[in-house]
Assembly symmetry: C2
Homo-oligomer: 198 residues x 2
């Protein structure tokens, strides 16, 4: 069996573009917007990356572009070709590992926080917690949009990525609470003489 048939040919971002076009005929500009609205929490693409990728996808006949100017404003929209459909489906279904890359300056600083005084370290944990809580709030705010996409357009999985994102950041925020308690109790290991005059 030729298991090289299951290898990815394109970069992940190219599949993102295919996927967004699959969800509806789109211009480069609209693809960028869709990314910002929906997957920016676990994937980003810059505008400068999208247009060249679209050109190369069209050269490989995975998408087909059509000029659809709005008045005198130029505009090119794209559809998937059958080859594009199968490339996308093959990528979704292949059994290669699922690369996961995280670059978190917050965790980095926590790792080295022994070099800070206890108070600053505690504030750092609080800052991470605020960041996670904000992220939870942002994701909660998108939820209605995700629900209407599920109900109206029949796409259920965007909402599921939202749930996973919320679960993630909620867990981080909760763990921060526990860590803060521990840090505060470590700070005064024996309460021999209470100094709580306020």
């Amino acid at each position: 069996m030729t298991d090289q048939a299951t290898r990815d040919v394109l970069a992940p971002s190219a599949y993102v573009i295919l996927g967004m076009i699959r969800l509806g005929r789109r211009s480069g500009y609209e693809i960028k917007q869709a990314v910002q609205l929906s997957i920016r929490f676990f994937w980003t693409i810059s505008q400068a990356q999208i247009y060249p990728t679209l050109e190369s996808l069209e050269r490989s006949q995975l998408v087909q572009g059509h000029d659809e100017p709005q008045g005198r404003r130029p505009r090119r929209v794209y559809d998937l070709t059958p080859a594009g459909e199968s490339a996308l489906a093959a990528w979704l279904a292949n059994d290669e590992p699922l690369p996961f890359e995280l670059r978190d300056t917050g965790l980095l600083k926590i790792f080295f926080a022994d070099l800070l005084d206890p108070q600053s370290a505690l504030e750092l944990v609080e800052k991470i917690q605020r960041r996670s809580r904000e992220r939870v709030a942002q994701l909660q705010a998108i939820k209605p949009a995700g629900e209407s996409i599920a109900d109206d357009e029949g796409y259920a999985f965007p909402l599921i990525t939202l749930r996973l994102g919320i679960a993630y950041h909620q867990a981080m925020a909760d763990e921060c609470t526990a860590i803060q308690q521990q840090l505060r109790s470590d700070a005064r290991p024996k309460l021999t003489r209470p100094t709580d005059h306020q």
Copy 2:
């Protein structure tokens, strides 16, 4: 007030290198190992990046290198200079936002999983769950090392990043369980006629 005094001068990876040296005199090779052992789950540096960075840090007088060959094998170890100490402390204490970047192919595929048949989509969720569980197991396995660093060397925060990592991936795995249940119940919305002949 000169708030430009609080701006980072170096790339985050340079602070990682400073931090690792701060935890103990180290060679480039040992820095790479320390990264692999401890922070690889939220930060990576390639070997090819470390040596040039060390050179530039030495040129800026933030670290001081000493040749310490082992026999005839060349080896250069580094210590922080006072300037390096303050640069690291300033970075840890500054109040700039904490960049957080995630690139998760798993979530990406989930997002587009409506294009898969229900069975494949379910398997994809299971695959994500396995990945998270493996990650939890890996982090749990490092825990004893983190505990001994806390107890023996007095560095408590590495263990805390471990806790946060475990909380994160545990939450993802748990949410995957809930998602699977929902997907399975969606698959047979009314159990009018059971087809379970096996």
